[in-house]
Symmetry: C2
Subunit: 423 residues, 2 copies
């Protein structure tokens, strides 16, 4: 793991000279680095992101900084997150080819990854705020979830390799710590960095923070996140980590990668779609978003259905790991035994995904890191009404996760909340 | 981690010359190594164990071999298990002082641990076979379980240290592999190394190996063992890993140490007590073991009760880790919220412990590594009757674990099985 020895942050000015000799760049955008056009486009909270362009091509250079960019050097964050992002990208590329940007170069000391420039892709979250209906995201993301999660687990991997990967990513401590605190705990008490739409949400926030069942549920989800090391997660799988065109879906930014429960990425993504659903009412200046709301509920339904179907297909064809071995089922003429085990596992993933979805919704409204979906609603009364509906759905999911049986049930509740505030 | 470079197995003859200069030994048993009396006493399956004695003292030297001693060099097994045993002993000594042998010296290259010689302690399993009632084991082992399991988890540890330990022990791959195969899978199909009392058990063995619910349950327990990295386990916590006098209880041999579920060690120990219970009927040559049976059911009851009570006490006093933080409960005047979470966690541990107990019983009768409790019953008809009762209890525990509410229920079923074969 790199420390900060020898690290130097790139700038628009220094980048061509510092990276001009790299074969990976010269091949892609040409040797004349003095003619490269460089702009910094990082809009995330953590890193520098440069677009480097020449007449022959364009690449992305992403460089970690030794602190949280959003906050400054009072919040140090290790450069090694770049190492984990690089390693996660490689594994994801192998597990669902074509779904992550191609990596052209990795420099551990400089904590930088040179990768394919995606164009004309935009961030999915921005597209959904703009009211765009992307026809392929549900299928692409459902498949990506099933393939990366199944293939990174003891259902598919050689046990020794899986354990080595577990150990490798266990060192991604500081980014895990962000998830552990900001997602699962801070939203449920008056933690220093929290904020919410005030004063409109003060009442419901107070209510949620004294809601014993909710706090216990959130901590149970944290316990699962921390202890249930089933597979390599993306770790930050929301609509801001997805880039889209009408034709293509790509997943970016897996620097939070760590071993965790199958359900974590699934639940986080579903949560972000439900939040998009509730935020639509704040973006109706140019007309009703009724069609967009119907589209989003369909996306949620199709994402889960695709995930479950693909996970089941992989179970039947690629289950070569140490869990639920064919030697105990299919090889003994008992394929139904394997189906019984699959049903039970998918039920667990389902229940846990709802739990993770609930807390993800809460932390985006009550915690430090908010969503543009709601944040871009400038009328705070309107925003608070949207957020309130989402908070209520989140509470329902987290607390009642074991009693909910289908996406249709959750979507019906979302529609009811959208029509009326259900207390 | 050491490979085998420089490793040389000790012998009774070479030990004094090779270890004579070690300060740890000279302090304990004196410098005159030529007068040391050395005997090899290893009766386990894996290692060399020497007793080294002088006029002033006695120590144990335990050395790993690069293969499974029971099988020979056709089954290689890495020396690094000694490293994991040493590291587990250190942690257990800190977490429940006085319960493991004192380590005097560790040599990673030679894969050897010099430790305190326990005398007049005997192996608990042998004592139970002999019909001895040890008054302290339930309390001592219940406390040891609670203290080591609680204090090795994210309930108590600094998250960063817990993750580093997870990574460290994740390399104990080969011993995990033994557990994964021999405990959870091999017993449930005709794996090559399996054996059972034949022909008497052939019928029930065939029945269990076509029992779909049982096979699914066993694989679900394997899934939990592999994926739920809650705490540092002993990993092989049966009555052969406990040494006793009337006054003292000590836990030895944690070379299978790995991060796993709270319930694993608990379930394995309970299983070995239930097996001892069913084996008593095979040891009645010198008189009825009715008193011994009653004693064992009491031990089981007290072990669980002690574990649960101590776990709860630690929850209330030492819960300083990242899970179920006081900032969300006690600090908000909601101590009952923490109690609610504790109840739910203990319920999970209970259910999982029953599942692990069920498969542990099965593997000791159907798999490779059998128990002396049953094996020393030379009348194979009698042995098979004892084993049959245990197999039936094991099946009940594994499959119905979620529907069982108390030790009293299980003990009542055990008594019923002991009186009559319940089909």
């Amino acid at each position: 793991m790199a420390g900060n020895q020898g690290f130097e942050a790139l700038t628009v000015e220094t980048l061509p000279a510092r990276l001009g000799a790299l074969p990976a760049l010269r091949t892609r955008i040409g040797a004349g680095s003095s003619h490269w056009k460089v702009r910094e486009v990082g809009d995330g909270n953590l890193n520098l992101v440069f677009v480097v362009e020449s007449e022959t091509g364009t690449v992305i250079v992403k460089q970690a900084l030794p602190y949280v960019r959003l906050v400054g050097d009072s919040w140090p964050l290790p450069l090694k997150r770049s190492f984990f992002e690089y390693n996660a990208l490689r594994r994801q590329a192998a597990r669902d080819p074509g779904m992550v940007p191609e990596v052209l170069h990795f420099d551990e000391t400089q904590a930088l990854i040179v990768m394919e420039f995606l164009t004309p892709h935009v961030i999915l979250r921005q597209a959904l705020i703009a009211g765009r209906q992307l026809p392929k995201i549900a299928r692409d993301l459902g498949l990506f979830l099933a393939r990366t999660l199944f293939r990174g687990s003891d259902l598919a991997m050689v046990a020794k390799d899986r354990k080595a990967d577990l150990a490798l990513f266990a060192d991604n401590v500081e980014l895990c710590d962000i998830t552990e605190n900001l997602v699962f705990s801070d939203p449920y008490f008056a933690a220093k960095m929290n904020r919410h739409t005030t004063p409109q949400l003060d009442g419901i926030v107070a209510e949620l923070r004294t809601d014993r069942d909710l706090k216990v549920a959130a901590q149970q989800m944290k316990h699962l996140f921390v202890a249930k090391a089933e597979t390599l997660l993306h770790g930050d799988f929301h609509s801001g980590s997805v880039m889209v065109t009408i034709e293509e879906t790509r997943v970016i930014d897996p620097e939070f990668a760590v071993y965790g429960p199958f359900a974590f990425d699934v639940g986080m993504l579903l949560a972000n779609f439900w939040m998009s659903y509730f935020s639509q009412g704040g973006h109706e200046d140019a007309g009703s978003r009724a069609g967009m709301r119907a589209y989003l509920l369909g996306v949620i339904d199709e994402t889960w259905a695709t995930f479950a179907a693909e996970f089941a297909a992989l179970w039947r064809t690629e289950r070569k790991g140490i869990l639920y071995q064919a030697s105990l089922f299919e090889d003994q003429g008992d394929a139904l035994g394997a189906e019984q085990a699959l049903d039970a596992l998918l039920t667990d993933i389902w229940v846990e995904a709802l739990g993770f979805a609930g807390v993800e919704i809460h932390r985006r409204i009550l915690g430090l890191a908010h969503n543009a979906d709601f944040e871009t609603i400038t009328d705070t009364d309107l925003r608070a009404r949207c957020e309130t509906k989402a908070l209520k759905l989140g509470r329902h999911l987290a607390v009642n996760r074991r009693a909910i049986h289908s996406i249709a049930e959750v979507n019906a509740l979302a529609e009811r909340l959208e029509r009326e505030i259900v207390r």
